[in-house]
Subunit: 200 residues, 2 copies
């Protein structure tokens, strides 16, 4: 078995128009009916392609579903990455991630799924792999903040990444944990404090 064959279902090629047609149709169906009530035949009908083609690109329904969400996440990370480049500080970047993360949860496929299958959304949120995919996202920004002197030179990248991700995940998943951080301004002030000085 070659490396390409081995990876055929693991890494999805977002340049392949067929892949995107399938994912588009899949996302549309999940958005409208939820995961449980989405049949592969319906995805095929919506995407105007054959059921067989779907199985050529995705091992099974679970792979398709996870493909839909992974593409969403990749899209979020790409959009965020682009936006972060224009922001001066790590705190600004983190603030932006939290605000746009909340937006995504409130309006897209997550919001509709949360209504029809809240348990599924809850399971996804607690799935470690859901966050692990973002672990490689932050280090470059942290290194930059380190060079610029925004954060301490002694901090190791792994610790900083872990901390930043915990803050982001926590603030997106639990908007109110005693404090009610609603506005971008409030979120930024809070993050400025805890990131740069902790409680010290």
């Amino acid at each position: 078995m070659t490396a390409t064959e081995q990876d055929q279902f693991n890494s999805v090629d977002y340049n392949d128009p067929m892949v995107n047609r399938i994912l588009d149709a899949g996302e549309q169906c999940i958005h409208r009916f939820g995961i449980r009530r989405t049949a592969m035949g319906e995805v095929a009908r919506v995407g105007k392609l054959s059921r067989g083609s779907i199985y050529r690109y995705f091992a099974d329904k679970e792979a398709l579903v996870s493909g839909v969400f992974q593409r969403r996440q990749a899209l979020y990370l790409n959009r965020t990455e682009a936006a972060l480049e224009k922001l001066p500080t790590l705190v600004d970047k983190l603030t932006h991630s939290v605000v746009s993360g909340r937006q995504d949860m409130a309006e897209g496929i997550f919001a509709s799924l949360a209504e029809t299958e809240p348990e599924t959304v809850a399971m996804m949120f607690l799935e470690p792999s859901f966050y692990q995919r973002s672990v490689s996202f932050w280090p470059p920004h942290i290194e930059l903040a380190k060079r610029e002197g925004e954060i301490g030179a002694a901090i190791d990248i792994e610790t900083a990444t872990d901390f930043i991700m915990r803050l982001a995940v926590s603030l997106v998943t639990f908007p109110d944990m005693g404090l009610n951080l609603k506005s971008r301004k409030d979120i930024r002030r809070y993050l400025q404090q805890v990131v740069s000085r902790g409680l010290g």
Copy 2:
């Protein structure tokens, strides 16, 4: 309606032996069969009391179930409170909370429920009220740390409480967020860093 009648199902009296017999039986059933497969009749049988008595103390099955978990949480908070008194610093206290929180999740009613009804556990974890009950737990410890000079005098209690709780919840719920904080020593070092200095 008097205040007592009004509160009869809201606040549970843990001194009432009947209440505890019901909660004991309920917890035992949930532990063995899960929530869905636990019938009120079975709880009555296990607790050696009548079904009617249960409904005298708990409005419905949902109230009983939430009563079981609230008692567990109260127990956890009481045990933790006692343990924290002996610990010198806020960081030590937080470390202890995380370690014992993880233990509770790994062995008690949560662990068994996670096997039979993972979606239910996931939903509970994401339920804001699950954490809101602990909001009043931390402020005294934070005020003390402030007086002792462990944390800054300028920090307001609400911000510090929010931050401490986010760290605790995050570290219990997601053991590994890039960094794999396993031992008490590792957890303590991590918390020492982020609580006292953030990334500065």
